[in-house]
Symmetry: D2
Subunit: 266 residues, 4 copies
């Protein structure tokens, strides 16, 4: 059997006259080395989605080439620039004018407890998303991170003789930037926008600090979204952002959320 004997159905002409916005692969697990501010790189595992624009005249794309291109980058450091390289290769190898890529992965940092200073790992769900449009000669990259925080309800604190309901909340942040912004910087902005950061390891003096700090710093989901927006507005490197804060209310069996998307004017 010879490779060339096997008919290339995907490459045949298509008469339906319908172009497809995206055709590709998703949920590909892949080990990656991610840029790490403290250590240069860290090993993690990505769930990868890759697709291209398919013009109306072709019946299909060649799915195996997505994996070949991904494999060719196996030992490179994952960054927005690597996504640009992949996008270029996708356009070239698949005769496409546009390519779309996302890598989602856990990102670990060492975090010190606020009083005892004891360090432990804490993980965040991070992502890079990118698209390349050869016709417009435009490359677009989005950096994302989901940061869990505590939110303590200002209303509950105000109206109650003691205590205040609080809960874990997730800040889902995406940004477009001019130049590099570290995950650590985005995490710091997000964590300081809720009532308190979260920690994996807290001893009793730390737990006392976190409890009191949150109580003295009550934040609605609306407050958390706005506090983070203020910081992103002030940072000239951030040119676009989307914030979604979801609070797993400890008094309800449903969630509260707040959302804001902003394109900065130049």
């Amino acid at each position: 059997m010879q490779l060339k004997e096997l008919r290339d159905i995907q490459g045949e002409q298509d008469a339906r006259n319908i172009a497809l916005d995206k055709v590709g692969v998703k949920n590909v697990s892949f080990p990656v080395l991610v840029m790490d501010k403290e250590n240069g790189t860290q090993s993690t595992i990505a769930s990868v989605t890759m697709s291209v624009y398919l013009p109306h005249e072709f019946r299909g794309t060649h799915m195996s080439r997505f994996i070949e291109i991904l494999e060719s980058k196996a030992h490179e450091r994952l960054s927005p620039m690597m996504l640009k390289d992949i996008a270029k290769s996708l356009c070239e190898k698949l005769n496409a004018s546009r390519a779309f890529i996302s890598f989602k992965f856990k990102y670990f940092i060492r975090k010190a407890a606020p009083v005892t200073g004891i360090e432990s790992y804490i993980s965040y769900d991070a992502c890079y998303e990118a698209s390349l449009d050869l016709n417009l000669n435009k490359f677009d990259a989005v950096t994302g991170i989901i940061v869990p925080v505590q939110t303590l309800c200002p209303c509950s604190k105000e109206i109650s003789d003691c205590g205040a309901h609080n809960q874990r909340a997730l800040i889902d942040l995406k940004v477009r930037t001019k130049g590099l912004v570290w995950f650590e910087e985005l995490i710091e902005m997000a964590e300081s926008s809720g009532s308190s950061p979260l920690y994996t390891l807290l001893k009793r003096p730390d737990e006392k600090f976190v409890t009191e700090h949150a109580y003295n710093n009550p934040r609605f989901v609306e407050d958390t979204a706005r506090e983070l927006a203020l910081k992103l507005d002030e940072d000239a490197r951030i040119i676009w952002y989307k914030i979604e804060v979801t609070s797993c209310e400890s008094i309800h069996n449903h969630d509260a959320f707040a959302e804001i998307t902003r394109e900065k004017l130049n």
Copy 2:
């Protein structure tokens, strides 16, 4: 204790000068009666998200009012018109200019096996999404349904001496319409776009039919998306659609997908 004594923190002024695109509740489970083409209504369970635009001058929204409005509709028939009523109430009770709502729910139909005709239930994940903008005097509604089908690979069939890999694929379809389009109609269009519909109950003659029908009707994810797009293009009631087909490839541990979004020109 009197209600009026408890300070309304949410209603206070906010000095940060940041409006929020959406503030509200999500993942609220609620029993609903949905419009059903065969039986008038069917009982199902929705996961509800509701939010409003929050102008910069207010600190927060009043989350309990979302639930009060939802409760006030507890015995009404869920439809895009009911979402419009909810949106109006949200805008009114929360002094908002925009409201956003989504209901996601399982939708059941009775489906006859293709040869024996034996009927059984099969379920689909359906949704209604809507927004109301009082400033623009614009109500927008989207109807969605996720339809599982079989896709049988044309390439695998062509190059192989026998058999062809096939698998379950999900067609995630959203439409904007002029007038009513039944879920049953969207399901029929989607199911006829893959290699075969799925069934809950098949006897051997049915299984033979489904196997041979799929083998004689090979479809890539690209084909499935395009076949469905052709049908939606031909239906004058459909004014916008988004199709995403995801195929859980039986030869890979990742998925293939194709996506197309179209706004029809008038």
Copy 3:
């Protein structure tokens, strides 16, 4: 084409000499009417798993018969007795000596806010599980419900000058009983074992009550599990129970849990 012409591969002899503990179908969505203490029945949607023991001499089971038996019960009221009927039918129609069934479904109750008394829906994840062994002439049924509550940390309260971290926690309770125990009764026992029940709709006086009640009633996951165990120990109808409490810690990005299983001695 005639049904009898199609060879019954599943019914053929198997020479591998390996019996299978369970063979069947899972994740079958099915609309059901569940026993409801207040209203007689409520409509909900179940995810159904059904299986049988397969002796070593048969190659396979007949998967379509599981669905036929389920369909034959479509308009009956779901209860442990209905599971017994299904189990009997499975054993009979599939020539099996043992059958296993589970139905998982959302269960709604109307709950009044603690001060204003305003009612709203709240949902719980419930289940019935059953097995029938014809050789031992033994029918076994388990009733389960997952009850979300608030837990407020006693340590955090004790060591902090103000406030205390609290969060949503899930009590996953399964029981074997002599005679009927309503979901409402299990929910009441579970909700009174945490720091506070949850509610879908709370006005400010209710939120004040819930906040203060939880603060005055601090409970570790260990406490919650034990408080519930005490109540189950005292109820003579309960002959076996399993409790797993999982607390979505608002100071950590991981969860705390406590587990206890007890068979009561007669």
Copy 4:
């Protein structure tokens, strides 16, 4: 503020007279180095659960010590022996007589396409679970791996004039062993028990091979479970196993499954 001033609520006496089977932490994300047959070790990310038995006389456990013990193993190679070390430390530091641990993680191997030999990564969901009982002086370890395969329906092939429905299926395998058994060995046994292994990267000659190989090798879920059981029965290192095969039927919107658990007699 001094650590010793803060009252240790967890360490206080409990009067309820109820011991807890397990108390601990779950869903802790942690970077780990796992034993790798080809390369010595591989970097991956685990979701960790750790718990201990809590005697009736103590109110609670000390949750932070679980994390301290986990952190102390941060640079060691994950293996059943490391779980034994963790279990010993848990018992010692928490004054417990029993400890329970599980690590779940993705495990990657390089797999060659069956005809072209092109290599690519493929990932599996693996786990180690262990318990230590100091009273019984017993350490127990379970190794698990979930292996996706293709199953092609023998009945569909037999009764149809052409084709046969096939789909992705998951083999969830757990084993207790005497001595080391590599993940690679378990994967090989599982992959050869379905109709075909899966691959991340297949060129057309490979796809032809996989399609024909699966067609010539039809397997029910029952067959897949039994074929794997035969191999595990023959391997003297395996002293206990549990197999659950779940097939995402391409003709249904529900799944078929088969399950078998066996303790080997000595």
